[in-house]
């Protein structure tokens, strides 16, 4: 068991390394960079001191060196002008656009991203599991048809549009306030009960929107799995020998149908994270989504790089958790027998 976990963690580290290289290549792809653009702009206005400062930043972050050296410095395995200082040392770089360390700019956004994604995961499971069980046990009834139809619609509606429309009507009909994560009056207030309540109210629409697509997919898959299990002889035996219906459903077939379900978390997470980025942009939630879009547009490379790495590690950790749960849930998987 421990060997399996260790091996998974090692693979994850290797994957992260490859991802970091990919991310770096991608953010380096567009021609030019933030500082050179800025210097040209400043030269045009004749602001000599700012030009000097920008040039200092260029040498400090080694932006005048070859790209592969920049990469090694960024991840922190090669000394830059101030010694080893990169992602591995916990230094996330400098945001040129905000003129602050990346860590200060992202700050709370990281936690809120985490919070929103966790809420979405919980929501997906809370809705998908009961809906799938109902749909599978009441096969070909009106309720089943409704669940299936809702599932298909959930798959087909673009999340951003749903966000926009829900936002509008949630405000008009239920008085839920628009945008952001809490009332703007509470922005700089300490965390009080009132602020938490405001936060929960603001979380409803994003969670619904982010979770809907994933829920639809989960219901479909879970329903199919459960139907497969319900048709198997052991279920018939369990019923025939008089096991109470609930137990005959939940103890064996349900548990069996959970396996592909848990394995699916790995697929679900990248989608949820993607969805949360998109929905945050529409609802202007202070998560990493809007920051990423800005950073990509202005070529604020350390900022963009860090956020991309953050979302990638978020999915990787989620996948690790899902794999470990699977090992715990299904004895056949131990010892890497797949």
């Amino acid at each position: 068991m421990i060997a399996v976990i260790l091996r998974r963690i090692l693979t994850m580290a290797a994957t992260l390394l490859v991802i970091s290289a990919l991310v770096f290549i991608i953010i380096k792809l567009p021609p030019g960079d933030y500082l050179t653009n800025r210097i040209m702009e400043l030269r045009a206005t004749g602001d000599a001191s700012s030009v000097a400062k920008a040039e200092l930043l260029i040498t400090q972050y080694g932006l005048d060196r070859p790209v592969w050296q920049q990469y090694l410095m960024w991840i922190g395995v090669m000394p830059g002008s101030v010694g080893f200082s990169g992602l591995l040392q916990g230094d996330w770089g400098w945001s040129f656009e905000y003129d602050k360390p990346v860590a200060d700019v992202v700050g709370d956004a990281l936690w809120l991203t985490l919070l929103i994604n966790l809420t979405a995961v919980v929501f997906v499971h809370l809705v998908a599991i009961p809906a799938a069980i109902y749909s599978a046990t009441h096969r070909n009834t009106f309720g089943d048809a409704v669940v299936t139809l809702l599932g298909y619609v959930g798959l087909a509606v673009p999340g951003f549009l749903l966000a926009l429309i829900l936002l509008f009507y949630a405000n008009r009909w239920f008085g839920l306030s628009i945008g952001g994560l809490y009332d703007s009056a509470l922005t700089n207030q300490p965390w009080t009960w009132e602020k938490i309540r405001s936060l929960l109210g603001h979380l409803i629409v994003p969670t619904l929107v982010i979770g809907l697509g994933g829920t639809a997919a989960m219901i479909r898959r879970m329903r199919a799995n459960l139907l497969d299990e319900l048709a198997k002889p052991y279920t018939v035996t369990a019923r025939a020998k008089g096991l109470p219906p609930v137990k005959a459903l939940l103890k064996y077939p349900f548990r069996m149908s959970l396996n592909p379900f848990v394995a699916d978390i790995g697929n679900l997470l990248p989608h949820l994270v993607s969805g949360s980025v998109l929905v945050s942009l529409v609802l202007s939630l202070p998560t990493v989504g809007p920051l990423l879009l800005d950073a990509l547009r202005s070529q604020d490379q350390f900022m963009a790089g860090f956020i991309l790495m953050f979302v990638a590690s978020l999915t990787l950790v989620g996948m690790l958790i899902s794999d470990l749960t699977l090992v715990w849930l299904d004895p056949r998987i131990r010892m890497g027998l797949r």
Binding site: T15, I19, I26, P158, F160, L161, P270, H271, L308
Partner: protein
């Protein structure tokens, strides 16, 4: 009544043919025939297939079908609401017609108000002369299926902030949005077949390498990566090049699922005798994979490719919506939705949200079609 006498058995007078005559049995029809037969039983899937064929059939004829040209601005009709097409005027049937608008600027709210003047119906014209265009870049013509009435307007779905007809733009957008899914899937299909093929056939270190690659690509959240890649497209590219760039980006991240399926099947199939026979006869790996192995499960691959087209269409829509995808003057459904991005649009000009309907229909149709194909893919099951 031609009753059979009780003491005799019924005998079919037709001559006995051992192989023939059993068209309906699984043993005699080809696999593709069986797949077709099974697919036709799936009513939703068949209906979706018909709908999709109809949608795609419009693609070469968009200029003909759209009442207005793509860039035609009607400066007097900004944000005009949808104009209904009627058949009956004062209880009398007079063919398809519209009632003209009377526009005036409300000086209190600074909004344009459109009043419908029901006194003077304006009949539509059919197969008529309108905005000129080059059909397929070959023939210059100005023929349209339906045109606005003389001195009138025809805004079936309303107009946008520049007074462009939404219905026409929707038809133009269909061309881009529908192609992008197909081209993207073609790219991801090729990549998936290639990587899955070499991983499953050669096994060993190639397999391990491809597996890692799949793992890396699959663990990346799509949208942030799409964003990053689209931001990397040079801003000085022409809209057409951007279109191809976006398609490649969409296809580039979609192949791992397919590659995994191909690999799994190949690992099992390559142990079969017919593979060994082909190898002994000197067939190259490419030939063994492409000619002997892949056709075995082509139907599965087509089904799963169909299911990934909606992802592409939604992906393009999302990217364009955020302003990082296609750029005007290229018109896609996502570009149209980009204009409906704010709450003012939802409240004041709700018809700007209409482009979401074709997205919905297309995505649903592809999902139903894919499900039907997947169920039919294994006719012996």
């Amino acid at each position: 009544m031609d009753a059979i006498p009780a003491d005799r058995h019924f005998v079919d007078p037709a001559p006995f043919v051992p192989e023939g005559g059993s068209e309906g049995l699984a043993g005699s029809a080809s696999a593709w025939r069986l797949i077709l037969r099974k697919f036709l039983r799936h009513r939703f899937a068949v209906a979706s297939a018909v709908a999709l064929i109809a949608l795609y059939a419009t693609v070469p004829f968009v200029e003909l079908l759209a009442p207005y040209g793509q860039a035609r601005r009607n400066g007097d009709f900004l944000y005009a609401p949808p104009q209904g097409v009627h058949l009956f005027h004062e209880g009398r049937f007079i063919g398809p017609f519209v009632y003209p608008y009377r526009a005036h600027l409300d000086l209190d709210t600074f909004r344009r108000d459109y009043k419908i003047d029901t006194a003077a119906p304006q009949p539509l014209r059919f197969l008529c002369r309108g905005d000129g265009y080059d059909w397929l870049g070959l023939v210059h013509t100005d023929l349209h299926l339906v045109c606005p009435p003389e001195n009138g307007t025809l805004f079936v779905l309303g107009t946008d902030k520049l007074g462009r007809d939404l219905f026409s733009r929707l038809i133009y957008g269909a061309r881009i949005s529908l192609t992008i899914g197909l081209v993207g899937v073609a790219i991801s299909f090729t990549l998936g077949l290639f990587f899955g093929g070499i991983a499953g056939y050669f096994g060993g270190i190639v397999d391990a390498g491809v597996q890692r690659l799949i793992e890396v690509v699959r663990s990346l959240p799509e949208l942030p990566l799409w964003l990053a890649l689209s931001a990397a497209l040079p801003p000085n590219w022409s809209p057409l090049l951007i279109f191809f760039g976006i398609t490649v980006i969409l296809g580039l991240l979609d192949w791992p699922g397919l590659a995994r399926a191909v690999r799994g099947k190949l690992l099992a199939l390559r142990e079969e005798d017919f593979v060994q026979a082909a190898e002994l006869m000197g067939a190259s790996p490419a030939r063994v994979i492409g000619r002997h192995l892949i056709p075995n499960f082509m139907s599965h691959l087509i089904a799963s490719a169909t299911l990934s087209i909606p992802t592409m269409i939604l992906g393009e829509t999302a990217l364009s919506f955020l302003g990082l995808g296609l750029r005007p003057p290229v018109t896609s459904w996502g570009v149209l939705l980009n204009e409906a991005q704010n709450l003012a649009a939802v409240q004041l000009y709700p018809w700007l949200l209409i482009p979401v309907l074709p997205v919905l229909v297309t995505v649903l149709a592809f999902n139903f079609l894919g499900d039907g194909l997947r169920d039919a893919a294994d006719p012996y099951h």
